[in-house]
């Protein structure tokens, strides 16, 4: 029985949260990797673009709530996401036309594009703060828990409860659907294949008659979808605050690089690698060992490898280690 308790403990505090957090990171990381692979620059505006999309989702959610539209037990935000995506994609295409296109056509070095993306970052940040303000916003409604800790205890008669938030389940399901569609699109359809070809070798792709304008546009559309959904899911699960979104850029970058930048599947797994290592290394295992070990060997300390303050530092340290030993990432992305 103790053993089952220990497993439930780990599920509750490590596995489920890490899976949800990892999914959110994975969506962002695929966004970064797509932009890097096809448009060929490191997009420092990632976090703020995600907050921009989320902002529209929130505005539509508030609007729907005010006119009384709801989605039953599910959060209203799910209904608002498609509308958010429309605005987000429009914004990205405008930004591309006004800003990035010029440098792409002039074949500027990637560094210059990265600098330009910092300008976009400042502007996006300002727009978000001017429209919705810098404060913390929650926009979740509907049923909060799928399984409550207390109910679970009653049901199974165990000491440890397992609480699963509905946002966690939604996050994981939506991510799986979105990512499998994306991989199907990239691997099976003609447009997807031409995108991969363009990312692999631009000149050769152009020679074989691939239209670069179309590729770039589709990339921004997909990027907009990923950014909005990723941002909205994160906001639903935690809360929306422009500053946190800006900071989330850092673990997202770490995930993309750890997975091998330019490689969408690597970025997907990279998100989970970062999330699990962050949580595994900062969790206090004391209770776990209390269940598993006999009473005489019970530990006195917290058995915590690193204090939770170092959550972010963990993912960055992983990144540094990967950089040292395998600069192209775990799943062989572009060699940088």
């Amino acid at each position: 029985m103790d053993f089952v308790n220990a497993i439930i403990l780990l599920l509750n505090y490590i596995f489920v949260p890490a899976l949800a957090y990892g999914s959110q990171l994975a969506l962002g990381a695929i966004f970064v990797t797509l932009v890097y692979g096809i448009l060929r620059f490191a997009n420092f505006a990632t976090g703020d673009m995600m907050s921009f999309g989320t902002m529209f989702v929130i505005l539509f959610t508030f609007y729907f709530q005010s006119v009384g539209i709801s989605f039953g037990v599910l959060p209203t935000a799910l209904l608002a996401i498609p509308f958010g995506i429309i605005f987000m994609v429009g914004y990205m295409l405008i930004i591309d036309k006004l800003v990035f296109k010029y440098y792409r056509i002039n074949k500027s070095p990637p560094v210059q594009l990265a600098m330009v993306s910092i300008g976009v970052m400042f502007v996006t940040q300002a727009v978000v703060r001017i429209i919705i303000g810098p404060s913390d916003r929650r926009f979740f409604d509907g049923e909060k828990f799928l399984i409550k800790a207390g109910e679970f205890k009653e049901m199974t008669g165990l000491n440890e409860g397992l609480a699963i938030k509905s946002t966690q389940v939604i996050t994981i399901i939506v991510t799986l659907i979105l990512v499998s569609t994306l991989f199907w699109f990239l691997n099976k359809t003609k447009t997807g294949k031409s995108m991969r070809a363009y990312s692999d070798n631009e000149d050769l792709a152009l020679l074989s008659g691939i239209d670069p304008k179309k590729i770039v546009m589709i990339t921004w559309v997909i990027a907009g979808i990923l950014a909005t959904i990723g941002g909205a899911l994160y906001g639903l699960d935690k809360s929306f605050k422009p500053f946190t979104y800006f900071n989330n850029m850092l673990p997202i970058f770490a995930a993309a690089i750890v997975g091998g930048i330019g490689n969408p599947f690597g970025a997907f797994l990279g998100g989970y690698v970062i999330a699990f290592s962050e949580i595994l290394l900062t969790y206090a295992y004391r209770k776990f060992f209390m269940y598993v070990l006999p009473e005489s060997m019970e530990p006195d300390g917290l058995i915590q490898l690193l204090s939770t303050d170092y959550k972010f530092a963990v993912s960055f340290s992983i990144l540094v280690i990967v950089l040292l030993y395998r600069p192209s990432g775990i799943f062989k992305g572009k060699v940088l």
Partner: protein, 456 residues
């Protein structure tokens, strides 16, 4: 003279703007803008050495600034004797163990061929070392943090004058840059940018959470000053007579003696804070001028030419026998050290060290905006960038308010749009920076004062 006309013009306009702030707002504000402009100028010089001279992207400026600030704390704060006796021994022992661990790893890496066993042994040493160090340091850290936690709770510093920390800060930042450079400089440009950005976050995380060293988010306040205190100045005779002399025409108009005394007191209070700020300005100006002379000399020396050659064509420079890796490392360390000086100066001016305030937007990206807008590769340009951007950063709110009032003049004062816009005036500075950066990058990619190569 002729060819430097644009430089002189740009700087006079800048000085004119700051003077206008002095006349219309107050000299206090003008001087604090000027001081921070000078500090920003030091930071941009550091970033400019790396980016403008050698083409290295360093997005870790925040980390080096914070290390400079840490140096200011460790140098100037008086040592906390109780804490040292409570846990000093454990900390020193851990420090010794860390050094031993690093040396052992180095020894193994140098003397054994690459093999699986070697990797395992290195990993084992590191893991074992961390476990032992944690066991030794933990009671020490707890003891130190337990010593009067509301006031100290940390080891304190050396109790030296804070000016020394400017040099020490440079060494701290340079040391960290050496380690980072060894690890990350082989990477391609945008990869290096991300890596340095993340490493600087790690540095901040450590500074924020190692309370025994830095007091963490509890902040260190009341640092020593290189300048006199306002309160002391207000009671010094020579200062009062100085203020009297300066304002004699104004004071002579007042005939009533008590009223005259009250006005004088007011003037002395105002004057004292201006005087203190002027002291800082003088100190900072000395640093900026020294650094400017050194960097200018370096830029036009054979070494500077070599750096430009490496920047413009790495392979060719390599083929000519220049050691690209070594030079990159050198310039990375030098540039970061300058940023470290700026970090120490910043903490000196503020008189407090707040680890929570180090954010990448303010200390990394804003500095980059300064370098790009001012003109990378040109020291005068970089300094000008520091001035212009910092000035706009501070004055963006008043300008934004003016613009909002102008555009919404037709609306009622209680109209929700107007109220909302006036509330969000502080965020116009982000908009201004972003648009400024984008416009400069597009239409004047070399910055306001572009790089000029003169062959002497």
């Amino acid at each position: 003279m002729r060819k430097n006309l644009n430089v002189i013009a740009a700087y006079s306009i800048m000085m004119g703007l700051i003077t206008l702030v002095g006349i219309f707002q107050s000299w206090n504000i003008a001087l604090s803008i000027f001081n921070l402009c000078l500090i920003s100028a030091v930071m941009t010089m550091g970033a400019n050495i790396q980016w403008g001279y050698a083409g290295l992207i360093n997005f870790g400026i925040m980390g080096f600034t914070a290390l400079g600030g840490l140096a200011a704390v460790l140098i100037s704060v008086d040592p906390v004797q109780e804490a040292w006796s409570a846990g000093g021994f454990n900390i020193l022992l851990s420090l010794f163990l860390i050094i031993a661990m690093v040396l052992a790893v180095r020894y193994i890496l140098k003397n054994y061929k690459k093999s699986k066993n070697r990797t395992y042994i290195v990993a084992a040493i590191i893991i074992l070392g961390i476990v032992i160090i944690r066991f030794i340091s933990e009671p020490g850290i707890e003891a130190i943090e337990g010593v009067n936690p509301a006031k100290t709770g940390f080891l304190g510093g050396l109790g030296l004058p804070i000016i020394f920390s400017w040099v020490v800060g440079a060494f701290f930042a340079g040391g960290l840059a050496f380690v980072i450079g060894k690890v990350a400089l082989g990477l391609r440009a945008d990869y290096l940018a991300i890596a340095t950005l993340l490493i600087s976050e790690i540095v901040i995380a450590i500074i924020k959470h190692e309370d025994w060293l830095t007091r963490g988010v509890k902040n260190v306040i009341g640092l020593k000053r290189p300048a006199p205190y306002e309160v002391n100045l207000q009671q010094t005779d020579w200062f009062i007579s100085l203020v009297e002399k300066f304002n004699s025409s104004k004071l002579n108009l007042i005939t009533d003696l008590t009223e005259r005394q009250a006005t004088l007191n007011q003037l002395v209070i105002e004057g004292s804070s201006v005087f203190v700020k002027l002291c800082y300005s003088g100190l900072f100006l000395v640093v900026v001028v020294i650094l400017l002379i050194l960097t200018q000399k370096a830029l036009y020396s054979p070494w500077g030419r070599m750096m430009r050659a490496i920047r413009d064509n790495e392979e060719a420079a390599n083929a000519m026998g220049k050691n690209v890796v070594k030079q990159h490392l050198l310039i990375f360390v030098l540039g970061s050290a300058i940023v470290g000086i700026a970090g120490a100066m910043l903490v000196t001016q503020d008189g407090l060290f707040t680890p929570g305030s180090y954010r990448p937007l303010r200390y990394t990206f804003l500095i980059w905006v300064m370098v790009i807008i001012g003109g990378s590769g040109n020291n005068f340009g970089a300094i000008l960038g520091g001035f212009v951007v910092w000035f706009l950063w501070i004055e963006a709110a008043p300008i934004g308010l003016y613009l909002v009032n102008l555009t919404t003049a037709g609306l009622d004062d209680t109209h929700f749009l107007k109220v909302h816009l006036i509330e969000s005036v502080p965020y116009f500075r982000f908009l201004m920076m972003g648009v400024g950066l984008l416009v400069i990058m597009r239409y004047r990619p070399k910055g306001i004062l572009p790089e000029k190569i003169e062959i002497k």
